[in-house]
Amino acid sequence: MLEIKCPYCGKRSQNEFSYGGDATIKRPQLGEEISTEDWDNFVYYRDNPRGKHSELWHHVSGCRQWFKVSRDTATHEIFDTCKMNEDFNV
């Protein structure tokens, strides 16, 4: 079980969190004209990297904040976590 540092609460066990996918995905603007291909890329297509990955986690059984985690998908090493309006330090 991973140990994740919530930027609001501190270190907590993984079972307090839920995973929220790739943190680098940007939702298209409301009302934006967008091709089906671009829309499908937003809705469906995700990279599946081996190694460093920026991802979202949600502290569902805690402060209920979404935040960013930089994690190695192969070793599970967590390099950094930060609030949504912050950037990783490492």
Binding site: L30, T36, Q65
Partner: protein, 999 residues
């Protein structure tokens, strides 16, 4: 022969003043406090414990602890029965019952032993080769036969009566294993101020110090261990745990440890758990798990009475028990000589067989000084004795050590063998450590760590006491310094131990002349040298493949004594060095763990949390049958007298249509939404328009996922300009909240809106039916309940007996209906009040079944239709989709597949005979007589008995639904093997104009 194999000294750890009676295979024996089942049996001269897995060969004890591959027993009986327990790990307790397994009719005479005679038909991989043809034999003949023959003990058929607990611990330094290095590191870390947990698998701390003749400082090793434990015990920052096995090392330094809490206690308190599972998140883990002695492969090396030399020594020194009185010590190294010396101390003269040409080790010299001659350059070729060893054939090795030049038969009653030592690297490897091969000790040791884990002492390949202690004190101090600022190192005391000469790289003896006895490598799985040879001959090269083909290193002991000997043999045949062959993966658990311990207290009703509405007790008192809705317990129906479910549901639903019904809808998700951007937010979340919803009005809303599928629906009300009350379905309540939080925090953080779950703050009571207005008028006399005063989708605040109440005029049943919301604590009171006043209106409670009936008749969609595969168009919600604004998921709706006109859409179905109920999940097909594969038009999502028309009615989602209305099709259920002719009708079966809700 009661305890005739006890030593006469009393320097061990058993208490000969306290007798303990136990039963093995129906015979009553006794042992002493401090014994294990293994030591007590050996003391009684019992070596034959069970039969081997494949050949049903008689087997006894090989080891003395977790490494034991053979001595598995079935413990206890009835609901406490437990299979495959290794006798070396069972502490003796009064009345303990154990029996042999994998034998019939008895362990002395086992019919399955015919497999041993027929062993040439059971080579490695025989499963893959033998039962291949004819194909039809597999299911009916081979498979049942193999099942019957396979397996060891018998799983109990009754529920486990014992209690198991889980515990979560945090510490700076976890030390696994309490041998010299473990004790040293725990002491150093604790003295430096770190929070330390020291875990020991055995009932006594000390590890090898309990059996080795060494001195540390001015104390014996055993005294030093006991002194160190006393020091640690007195420190508030230390937790000491014995009988505790750390069996798993997971991510982020999470380790899991199983503690045997009460198995060794005669009458444990009812509230004492049997075992406790500890999840330990450690800052640093010190792996001081020691090493395990290796056996040597030679002819018939599996007979009862053939043990590891270290085990024989521990039985003597700790348990005051002799594994035999005519021992042969067979070794390729010096350490076995300490076992020889222990025998000599007990006035028994062992025969010593050493594969090496000579040794000048101190222990060897000591043995020689006692006048014992050593057969150097020799090996054991074969053994004899069916149920217990009675003689060995000792051979003189030739110079290549590939064959014997002469052989002699020697009587014996035990063989104590030693093939050197294997560091116990399991935990390091589980932690992701890349092991390296150490040629000096011929074993793998931890190397490149991935987690915060450090192996020390024998587990790190440091076999001398000086090294172990030095590493322990240094590492304990260094690691603890990360957590404290005391900077207080502890010096390693001087220690004394004998010097050892090098072992010989020889683990497999040549065959005796003219014979081919089995030379076992893996005792638990009956894998012999010949099986490994066969696997390689047949082309298996990867060690992982050799493992799976031969089953070497599998099963309960996971190859603790066999893995390296197997590797070494493969490397010999393949003429590769061991590191090139590699090693198989070490996975948790290190030792078998009872399922009960893994489950802990999460059994029965504690498997999941149970959510109950504040009105729950009333439902119970009124005979409700409950159904789980997620975690909630909801009344399904309220049978009267001998009523069955169908009659009760029809009565409840019909009463809503005719009079008035009351339903507990507390479980609906409720979300409080506040902020200046709340209307704009709802406008983006829902498919319909929200900006112009007036204060004091509710509106039905549908929300989608980004992929266009309907996510949830519900009514949301505007309480004031910037304050909304959202309701969700019971099932999606938590997901909708996360969804809203995601968009507010991640996607549109610029929106000034706050959301908060208020599901448990409100109790909701639906009052539905033509008489509901009259009832509510009586309950809330100061509210104008007329159609003008409180119109459909209106809401009003009022009170009942001084309790604040909010009344919504909303309807799921399709009838004139209201929903009364009060603060949760007043839910029960309010419900009772409504029931009381409602008596004169023929009020009846209705459960989820009637609720479903009512909504299905009306064609209202619910979870069965909103199954994550339907867009608004499919379920008749297209009018809810605004063309003027953008919202979550809108772009998906214009994708090609989503705009096809013949998509599967919602319809109603009525069976032509008006009698046969259509099973939910039935497939809809056009031609009942067509040959498979028959094109499927869709499926039945919901079914009910229409109380309005008194015939079955279903909702289905079928291809080009709208244009199928009026047609006859078939609903088929292959599961129930029925085919029902049906007519397609509108899904709005009752009151399609929706006039009742507005009446």
């Amino acid at each position: 022969m009661s305890n005739s194999f006890r030593t006469t000294n009393s320097t061990g750890l058993i208490n000969k003043d306290k007798k303990i009676n136990f039963t093995f295979n129906g015979t009553i024996y006794h042992g002493y406090e401090g014994d294990t089942l293994a030591s007590a049996l050996i003391a009684n001269g019992v070596h034959l414990v069970g039969r081997s897995f494949k050949y049903h060969r008689p087997r006894g004890f090989l080891g003395v602890g977790v490494e034991e591959p053979n001595a598995m027993v079935q413990l206890h009986d009835g609901n406490k029965s437990e299979p495959n327990i290794i006798a070396t790990e069972v502490e003796l307790v009064e009345g303990l019952k154990a029996k042999s397994q994998n034998c019939w009719p008895s362990v002395q005479f086992d019919i399955g032993e015919i497999n041993n005679v027929l062993n040439r038909f059971f080579p490695a991989g025989f499963y893959y080769k033998t039962f291949m043809w004819p194909k039809s034999f597999w299911m009916k003949i081979y498979e049942p036969f193999i099942r019957k023959a396979a397996g060891m003990g018998k799983a109990p058929l009754l529920p486990d009566p014992d209690r198991y607990e889980h515990n979560y611990e945090h510490c700076d330094v976890l030390v696994v294993g309490s041998g010299p290095s473990g004790l040293a590191s725990a002491l150093a870390a604790a003295k430096n101020g770190a929070r330390v947990i020291l875990a020991e698998d055995k009932p006594n701390f000390g590890g090898s110090l309990l059996t080795d003749e060494v001195t540390i400082g001015n104390m014996s090793g055993k005294e030093w261990a006991s002194d160190t434990i006393s020091q640690l015990k007195s420190m508030p920052n230390v937790i000491l745990k014995k009988r505790s096995q750390v069996f798993g090392y997971y991510d982020h330094n999470m380790t899991v440890m199983i503690e045997r809490v009460s198995d060794h206690i005669e009458n444990p308190s009812k509230y004492t758990p049997r075992q406790r599972l500890h999840y330990i998140r450690a800052g640093e883990v010190i792996v001081s798990t020691g090493s395990i002695e290796r056996p040597i492969s030679f002819g018939n090396n599996d007979r009862p009475g053939i043990v590891l030399a270290s085990a024989a020594k521990e039985y003597m020194k700790v348990y005051e028990t002799l594994v035999g009185k005519k021992p042969i010590i067979f070794t390729n190294n010096d350490t076995a000589y300490s076992t020889a010396l222990e025998f000599i101390k007990n006035d028994i003269e062992p025969i010593i067989v050493d594969t090496r040409d000579s040794s000048n080790g101190e222990l060897v010299k000591e043995v020689q000084q006692k006048g014992i001659s050593i057969k150097f350059n020799s090996g054991i070729a074969d053994t004899k004795g069916h149920l217990k060893i009675n003689s060995a054939i000792i051979g003189k090795l030739d110079s290549s050590k590939e064959s014997f030049i002469s052989e002699e038969t020697v009587e014996c009653d035990c063989i104590c063998m030693s093939g050197g030592w294997t560091p116990t690297v399991h935990l390091s490897s589980q932690a992701g450590n890349k092991l390296k091969f150490n040629d000096d000790i011929d074993a793998f040791v931890p190397d490149k760590k991935r987690q915060k884990e450090t192996a020390i002492g024998a587990a790190n390949g440091s076999f001398t006491l000086n090294q172990s202690l030095a590493e322990g004190f240094q590492v304990g101090f260094d690691l603890s310094n990360k957590f404290t600022d005391q900077n207080n190192p502890t010096n390693s005391p001087n220690s004394n131990e004998p010097s050892y000469e090098k072992h010989e790289k020889l683990w497999c003896m040549p065959l005796p002349s003219g014979k081919k006895p089995k030379r076992f490598i893996d005792f638990q799985n009956d894998v012999a040298v010949s099986d490994v040879e066969l696997a390689i001959r047949e082309g298996f090269r990867s060690i992982e493949h050799v493992k799976r083909y031969t089953t070497l290193g599998m099963a309960g002991d996971q190859g603790k004594t066999s893995n390296l000997n197997g590797l070494q043999y493969v490397s010999k045949i393949e003429k590769k060095i061991v590191p090139e062959v590699g090693h198989t993966t070490f996975r948790p658990p290190y030792t078998p763990v009872t399922i009960g311990a893994i489950v802990g207290r999460e059994v029965g009703n504690h498997y999941l949390p149970t959510r109950k509405s504040p009105i729950h007790t009333w439902h119970e008192e009124n005979n409700a049958v409950f159904v789980a809705a997620g975690l909630w317990q909801r009344p399904r129906y309220y049978p009267r007298g001998s009523e069955d479910m169908n009659s009760a549901v029809n009565r409840e639903a019909a009463n809503v249509r005719k009079n008035v019904g009351i339903c507990d809808v507390t479980t609906l998700g409720k979300i409080d939404i506040k902020g200046p951007d709340a209307p704009e937010f709802l406008n983006r979340v829902y498919t319909n328009a929200w900006l112009k919803l007036p204060v004091g009005k509710a509106r039905y809303g549908v929300m989608l996922r980004e992929d266009g599928m309907v996510f949830d629906d519900g009514t949301t009300s505007r309480l004031s300009e910037n304050h909304f009350h959202m309701t969700t379905t019971t099932a999606q309540a938590a997901n909708v909240l996360s969804h809203l939080e995601y968009y507010l925090q991640v996607v549109w953080p610029d929106l000034d809106v706050n959301v908060l779950s208020t599901t448990e703050q409100w109790s909701g009571i639906a009052v539905a039916g033509p008489k509901s207005r009259d009832l509510l008028s009586k309950l809330f006399p100061d509210v104008d309940m007329s159609n003008e005063g409180l119109p459909f989708m209106g809401l009003v605040d009022s009170s009942i007996d001084g309790i604040k109440a909010r009344i919504y005029r909303i309807s799921f049943s399709g009838e004139l209906a209201y929903e009364v919301n009060v603060e949760s604590n007043y839910g029960l009171y309010t419900w009772k009040k409504i029931m009381e006043v409602g008596q004169s209106f023929d009020i009846q409670p209705y459960g989820t079944e009637a609720l479903s009936t009512l909504r299905i008749e009306m064609g209202h969609v619910a979870g069965a239709e909103l199954d994550g595969r339907t867009i608004p168009f499919d379920v008749g919600l297209n009018s809810m989709v605004s063309q003027k604004k953008d919202f979550i998921g809108k772009r998906s709706l214009s994708k090609d597949a989503f705009t096809e006109s013949d998509r599967q859409t919602i319809v109603g179905l009525v069976p032509l005979d008006k009698k046969t109920k259509i099973p939910e999940g039935s497939h809809i097909i056009e031609d009942n007589s067509a040959v498979a594969p028959i094109p499927k038009l869709g499926h039945v999502s919901s079914s009910c008995w229409s109380v309005e028309y008194n015939n079955p009615f279903s909702i289905a989602i079928i291809k080009d639904g709208k244009n199928k209305i009026g047609k006859n099709l078939y609903a088929v259920s292959p599961l129930k093997d029925i085919s029902i002719p049906v007519e397609v009708v509108s899904s709005h079966y009752v009151d399609p104009e929706g006039s009742r809700v507005r009446s």
